[in-house]
């Protein structure tokens, strides 16, 4: 399809093995303060013959500021697959301060780091040198070294994270010899494409440092001639220039070099450790051999203006006044400029943002020093033409950093993350108010409502009629209207507890879960496809839908419900149900055309964290992905600490193993035809590439941790244009790192899993299963958010608006609760009653508040026009699903069977089941859902909007679906009512509106049925009447 080639060419089929290598720096000692006499070979060469170098003198671990050395256009670019990190030299090193670059294997082609030269190289001859050390790691077998091991490449392009270079790019390093005397051994080699490879006789050995030198040259003249010859030396003596260890020549190659970098091969493992340092490009042999980048560096950059501060620095006396007068105006306090905060010690160390400003002992790599000593006005701090810091001040700050970055905690105390925002405070045990209007109060809920009524001077509405109440309860609790028989049964039930009995019956109905589970599916952004451009289906995602429905039906304790969804793969004892529950995490979308695995993976993690934060904690965390939250006390560190819970896992098709698990395999039965055809085509193409093999074994779509997931769970491949990879070794080893400014290519310090600091300290150990610990923390009665957020959602789903209107934002910018005590009382009730959701339903549904009529009261409306204090039943349109389901109940056609595979649109007419069972592909949602504001499963939806557009009536009046329903309703009315007009009208009213028509309504209905409408036959007239009734506001609003 295009010219991209593997960097390593075809790989020989050598078995995969582990290895460990360390590359490390050479001889010279380094110290930031004295770079005294140089060795003889150094002199002026450093400035004239060296094209570029880097000594990797960077802060440990972090990549930030990796722009040292000379001769480069910009800082190092780091792989997102497995970024290289700066590490100390191994203990064998002569100087502990010397740093090296640690590169890990990934089991995939990787370009761990690369850098652009300041000027493109086209000269006839270029020398390159780096040092490499390979350490024996006992767990591996050091006698067998991977064939696709490690090289340095030189190219015109950067090749991306996956080392996608053209095949003719020169590289130098270690590779398995496939011919010659060292066949089958790992030897040093040079090559310009697979056809031009030369193996030296020098085998790579463990625990040795090698100086690798190459000469790249052109036989032709001019800038456009190819670099067609590559010579290799390993540990050369100065006189060896005439006798390279290996040479390739006559290759077609590139004529210009602008990028160089390192690449690891397909078969490297995460345990592989390769250290590199002393990277030098030069014009001459002498400029690279027997020198060191550190020495060149020391020669190259003297201290600023030669000013040296050699006295001890006292923070209070020396540093504080300077920071205070020159920096703190912008860079202190809660909302520092650009997020850089200098008045908190740990912020200098990159605590909340991941950006290290200064590291004790290493002023050379300090971002702080960099900006205060920048040459250009544009980049220097303080900004905007302010007087730059004096040379002596800069020297003092450098000395402060090098002397250990000492701080005065009394002067500038450590930051305590705390907030007095109501939602972050513990839940007080709310007293049930004493009210005057005691006879009105049926449950404690009413006392809170009545108290607010009394305070505002509102008068509650009268109780709704039995016909209204029965319809309300049915629609609200099970999402289906009552049949005329069910209406009759309730209206005629004279017992004192008729209402209570009905509530219990409905809460026990299996249809309850179909209604209330749907709210959770909205929150969980669940759908049956991958999302994004290709939107391939996830054939077994329906299992999670059933899991949710069943959980609601069983009144699974909410804390348990969360735990299964957060940690179902690791819970013991194992159960299929728990694993299916991870469909919550699994509902994240996966892009099929994100070419960068690192971004693809991070997008999934971000999706998981955002959903978990908003659904369970009611916090909008999205923004903390790139910077500390603007309003809430949530730092960027908090964000990545939450992400840390999930970094060892991946989405995918996961095996189920309990006996009796249903396992349909005829996908075309439930996947819409176009989607199925598209999927089948992709399966074929993936199968050809051996990336997918269909399985008949039962499985579900969910999330599995490579580390803590039950070992019996098998992970099957995924169908997507770029299937998200499953690399258990890489995942097990995956570190959670902050991403500086949210940039995947700029990983910051490592973080440990934990919850937002403002909500309490995370214990030093979370045990072996950290996600279970996260779930336990959520269920802790002292957690101020989880129970409040859930009862508020329940309230919202009953009344259309939450006590806190922003149901997924309990943060500082979220809405204030209208009834804070009621919210706390409900939250406490939830916890005290075993996290029973149905218990909360009862508190609400049995109340007088809930039983009010929707009756206008002018006096009330003046005081509380938006009914925020619930002086009447609020107006609520049915959700999309309920509209369709109600129509099917009215016509008597609803197939009430539960669960199982979904229904594709083409068989809808033969399977008139509830809307929740229609196949839900993100890019092709069922039309009734699209029409009436159902979410498309992209982000968590806490409250559906209600839009009213002209296409809706057109759908309700003209769609084939509705036309068929109208005909069916007419037919069934006819069956009961025969040809008698008024009887037809009455039955039709009962079927659709759960009531009989008023006299004058009979009259106007006759305008359709009667002789005025003579142009239609009578059966059509009845159809028209039925169709009209299904369109009434009264039909689509909860009464």
């Amino acid at each position: 399809m295009n010219s991209r080639r593997d960097f390593f060419g075809p790989s020989p089929s050598v078995s995969r093995i582990g290895l460990a290598l360390i590359v490390f720096g050479s001889v010279a000692a380094y110290s930031p303060t004295h770079a005294d006499d140089s060795t003889g070979s150094l002199d002026a060469l450093a400035n004239q013959s060296v094209v570029a170098f880097d000594a990797f003198d960077y802060s440990l671990g972090t990549m930030r500021g990796a722009d040292g050395g000379v001769g480069w256009k910009q800082s190092w670019r780091w792989s997102r697959v497995a970024p290289a990190v700066v590490a100390a030299q191994p203990s064998t090193s002569p100087n502990a301060l010397q740093r090296s670059l640690l590169i890990q294997g990934t089991g995939t082609r990787n370009n761990p780091l690369r850098r652009e030269l300041r000027e493109p190289l086209t000269r006839k001859e270029v020398f390159v040198r780096f040092d490499l050390h390979y350490r024996d790691v006992p767990v591996n077998n050091p006698t067998k070294i991977d064939p696709e091991f490690f090289v340095l490449w030189l190219d015109r392009l950067d090749g991306g994270d996956r080392a996608t270079h053209a095949s003719n790019v020169p590289n130098i390093g270690v590779h398995l010899a496939d011919r010659g005397p060292k066949k089958g051994k790992n030897v040093f080699m040079v090559r310009i494409g697979p056809a031009h490879t030369a193996w030296s006789k020098i085998e790579l050995q463990a625990n040795r440092t090698y100086q690798v030198v190459g000469r790249l040259s052109k036989s032709g003249d001019g800038a456009r001639a190819d670099y067609d010859r590559f010579d290799l030396w390993v540990d050369p003596m100065p006189v060896d220039i005439g006798s390279p260890a290996a040479t390739v020549s006559g290759a077609q190659s590139i004529g210009i070099i602008q990028w160089i970098g390192f690449a690891t091969g397909l078969k490297t493992e995460p345990t592989d450790r390769i250290h590199v340092t002393n990277l030098i490009l030069g014009k001459t042999w002498q400029s690279v051999v027997h020198t060191s980048a550190t020495l060149i560096a020391a020669k190259d950059s003297p201290d600023h203006d030669g000013v040296v501060w050699d006295k001890p620095v006292d923070f209070k006396r020396d540093v504080y006044p300077l920071l205070k007068s020159r920096c703190f105006e912008c860079h202190s306090g809660e909302k520092p400029e650009s997020g850089y905060r200098l008045d908190v010690h740990r912020e200098l160390l990159g605590y909340s943002s991941g950006e290290v400003l200064a590291e004790p002992g290493r002023s050379r790599a300090s971002r702080l020093v960099e900006v205060i000593s920048a040459k250009s006005d544009e980049h220097r701090m303080p900004p905007d033409g302010a007087e730059p810091l004096a040379g002596e001040q800069i020297a003092m700050l450098r000395a402060w950093i090098d002397q250990g970055l000492k701080w005065d905690d009394k002067l500038l105390p450590p930051l305590k993350v705390e907030s007095d925002h109501w939602a972050f405070r513990p839940i007080p045990r709310a007293e049930v108010p004493v009210i005057n209007n005691v006879e009105w109060a049926r449950t404690p809920v009413d006392t809170f409502i009545a108290k607010a009524h009394a305070k505002a001077g509102l008068q509650h509405a009268e109780q709704a009629t039995p016909n209204t109440l029965v319809r309300r309860l049915y629609l609200d609790l099970i999402g289906l209207p009552p049949t005329p028989k069910e209406v009759d049964a309730f209206v005629k039930d004279d017992s004192l507890e008729a209402y209570e009995h009905l509530v219990e019956r409905l809460l026990d109905s299996p249809h309850y879960g179909e209604r209330w589970g749907r709210y959770w599916l909205d929150l969980a952004r669940w759908a049956e496809s991958q999302g994004y451009q290709h939107d391939f289906v996830r054939p077994y995602a329906w299992r999670y839908r059933d899991y949710v429905i069943n959980s609601f039906n069983k009144d699974k304790p909410y804390d348990r419900f969360l735990k299964e969804q957060l940690a179902g793969d690791e819970l013991q004892p194992y159960s299929d149900d728990n694993l299916v529950a991870t469909g919550f995490l699994g509902a994240a979308r996966i892009s099929g055309n994100q070419e960068d695995d690192g971004i693809q993976r991070n997008d999934v993690l971000v999706d998981i964290v955002n959903a978990t934060g908003s659904v369970m904690l009611g916090l909008t965390l999205e923004c903390a992905q790139c910077h500390n939250h603007k309003f809430d006390p949530v730092s960027q560190r908090d964000y990545y600490r939450l992400q840390a819970f999930f970094v060892k896992g991946q989405l995918g098709n996961l095996s189920l193993r309990e006996s009796g698990v249903s396992n349909p395999t005829d996908l075309e039965r439930w996947i819409p035809k176009p989607a199925h055809d598209y999927y089948a085509k992709e399966v074929k193409s993936l199968a050809k590439k051996r990336l997918f093999a269909p399985t008949e074994k039962p499985h579900t779509w969910g999330y599995l941790s490579a580390e803590t997931g039950d070992p019996g769970i098998e992970r099957y491949p995924v169908v997507n244009r770029r299937p998200i990879p499953w690399r258990p070794m890489v995942l097990k080893d995956a570190e959670a790192r902050m991403l500086v400014r949210g940039d995947v290519s700029n990983p910051g310090p490592q973080v440990r899993a934990g919850w937002p600091e403002v909500l309490g300290a995370t214990p030093s150990s979370l045990g072996e299963r950290s996600r279970s610990a996260l779930a336990d923390w959520m269920a802790n009665p002292y957690n101020p958010l989880v129970s409040r957020v859930w009862v508020n959602r329940l309230w919202q789903y009953h009344f259309g608006r939450g006590i806190v209107e922003t149901a997924s934002d309990f943060g500082v910018e979220g809405a204030e609760p209208t009834h804070p005590e009621l919210l706390d009382w409900l939250a406490t009730q939830l916890i005290d009653n075993g996290w029973s959701t149905k218990h909360i339903h009862r508190q609400i549904v049995l109340s007088s508040t809930y039983r009010q009529a929707r009756k206008h009261n002018e006096a009330n409306a003046v005081i509380d026009p938006n009914n925020k204090l619930y002086w009447r039943w609020p107006r609520r349109r049915l959700a999309a699903e309920s509209i369709r389901d109600s129509v099917l109940v009215a016509t008597g056609e609803l197939d009430r069977s539960l669960g199982g595979v979904s229904i594709p649109p083409e068989t809808e007419e033969r399977n008139l089941r509830r809307t929740i069972y229609l196949f839900q592909q993100r890019s092709a949602m069922p039309s009734v859902m699209e029409m009436f504001d159902a979410p498309t499963g992209i982000a968590s939806c806490s409250r559906r909007s209600v839009s009213t557009v002209a296409l809706q009536p057109l759908f309700m009046l003209n769609s084939k679906f509705m036309a068929r329903r109208a005909t069916a309703l007419a037919k069934s009315v006819m069956e009961v009512a025969g040809n008698e007009m008024d009887r037809q009208i009455t039955v039709a009213f009962q079927r659709t509106l759960s009531r009989e028509p008023e006299l004058d309504e009979l009259a106007i209905a006759r305008t359709i049925l009667g002789s005025e409408n003579e142009d239609s036959p009578s059966s059509s007239r009845l159809m028209q009447l039925c169709h009209a009734l299904l369109n009434l506001n009264e039909f689509v609003y909860i009464p």
Partner: protein
């Protein structure tokens, strides 16, 4: 008895006549969502009332359409000179390592402005003095799905509102009977259409584009069997009367009123939409002009003619997506097909709008999600040569709606790889389109998750020099 429905609607709090169809709903919960503008309160004087976006999906090659590169033809078959290759941003599949591919099409200068147009577009070429050709668009995403999302929503993720939805939200429709934002798909081959391209994102769903089948018209406007004009009217009267009684029982309620009005509006849409989509009233000459009489041009020609009719009726934004430009191989025949099916209809649309005095107030935009590489994709030879995706530098054009024609903005290097002059982004284009409609991109906002969201979230500045 039955009340006069018009009287009833006038009584209602809404008085729909003065309100845009799509901004009908109002209640306390959605007060924030209300369109923040009406035409009397625009941010500045608009230069356009409507926009027609001719979206060429797949990505027509800039060097084969409006950005001729003689040097490319001269160097055909050679490698990319290092001086240029060095400037190509590091984007996967930028094709710098394969051989250059001179355009198989010839270019000529046209009109008083002398703007060169390739032989693909002989008809459009005649309108060139009305076009402002922007040759320096660029972004960094070389994949169709995200690219289409960038071109139409501003970001590649597909979770933000489309530009049409923003326009619809900001201005509503001038038409009482038709949706404010309508979308037509033609030649749906190659990359699938991206829903976010006409989706509402986080804006309320009512602002999304209505996908219309050019042959069938607005969905659900055809009455099912058993209905006639008169019995439908009778049925609607019944519905209205019942709804009115319901409303009286419950007291004032804007949402219920809105739903009542929606039936009347739906009825009008049902009545007027078929009229809009009935092209039989258009003269034979018009049919011929738009190429409705020829197989190659009839589909896109129909859409172009419908776009003109919709503009006449005040529809705010019309998006015509034409697929199939993804010429990875056999670019010559691919683009010839694309040109054949779109060139005459586009020229007809421009000419027809102009002749009717509508071009002054209608902004027509042409372009794809990216352009194509100046090099061959892979190692194909002869007629099977094609080009890969290239977002690094590509061309769009604008016409009408206050745009000063006969002008070229920006320039790519001598091979057409990257902008050398006036580099512009899709976001700049979006800011410009909003500006033409009288909307200040920084002031049209929507509160979402407690954040004031704007259409051009990643920046973008109005390209002032496209206007006269």
């Amino acid at each position: 008895m039955l009340i006069n429905r018009r009287a009833m609607l006038q009584e209602s709090a809404l008085g729909f006549g003065s309100l845009a169809l799509t901004s009908m709903l109002c209640d306390e919960a959605h007060a924030k969502e209300r369109a923040s503008l009406d035409r009397s309160q625009l941010h500045h004087r608009p230069t356009a009332k409507s926009i027609i976006f001719l979206f060429m999906s797949g990505g027509p090659g800039q060097t084969d359409t409006f950005d001729p590169k003689p040097a490319l033809s001269k160097l055909d078959g050679q490698r990319v000179p290092d001086s240029i290759a060095a400037t190509v941003p590091s984007i996967p599949r930028s094709g710098v390592d394969s051989k250059l591919f001179g355009s198989p099409f010839s270019f000529d200068s046209y009109g008083a402005s002398g703007i060169p147009v390739s032989s693909l577009f002989p008809h459009t070429a005649k309108m060139v003095d009305d076009l402002c050709v922007v040759r320096s668009l660029n972004h960094r995403v070389p994949v169709h799905g995200p690219g289409e999302c960038i071109a139409l929503t501003g970001t590649g993720v597909g979770d933000r509102p489309s530009m049409g939805a923003w326009m619809n939200y900001g201005l509503g429709s001038e038409s009482e009977d038709l949706p404010g934002f309508m979308v037509f798909l033609s030649n749906v081959t190659g990359p699938p259409p991206q829903l976010p391209g006409w989706g509402a994102g986080f804006l309320p769903a009512r602002y999304q584009g209505t996908l219309v089948d050019g042959n069938k018209g607005v969905p659900y406007t055809e009455m099912p069997g058993g209905y006639t004009e008169s019995n439908r009217r009778r049925q609607l009267d019944f519905i209205n009367e019942m709804n009115r009684r319901h409303l009286q029982r419950l007291g004032p309620d804007s949402e219920l009123e809105a739903r009542i009005s929606s039936y009347e509006l739906g009825y009008r849409m049902q009545a007027s939409a078929p009229e809009v989509f009935d092209l039989s009233k258009e003269s034979a000459q018009i049919h011929e002009l738009y190429g409705l009489d020829q197989k190659e041009t009839s589909e896109f020609g129909t859409h172009c003619l419908l776009a003109r009719r919709l503009v006449e009726r005040g529809v705010r934004c019309i998006q015509l997506r034409n697929g199939g430009w993804d010429a990875h191989s056999s670019l010559k025949s691919n683009h010839l097909n694309g040109g054949k099916s779109t060139d005459q209809p586009i020229a007809a649309l421009l000419g027809d709008l102009k002749q009717r005095g509508l071009l002054e107030t209608t902004l027509v935009v042409w372009g794809g999600e990216f352009g194509r590489t100046p090099t061959i994709e892979g190692t194909r030879t002869g007629a099977s040569r094609g080009r890969d995706h290239s977002p690094a530098g590509y061309t769009m054009w604008l016409a009408g709606g206050g745009v000063k024609g006969g002008r070229i903005i920006g320039a790519t290097d001598e091979l057409g790889y990257v902008p050398m002059e006036r580099p512009l982004t899709p976001a700049d284009m979006h800011a410009t389109l909003l500006h033409a409609l009288g909307i200040d991109q920084h002031r049209l906002s929507f509160n979402h998750n407690n954040r004031e969201e704007i259409a051009t979230v990643f920046g973008g500045e109005v390209i002032q020099d496209v206007f006269g």
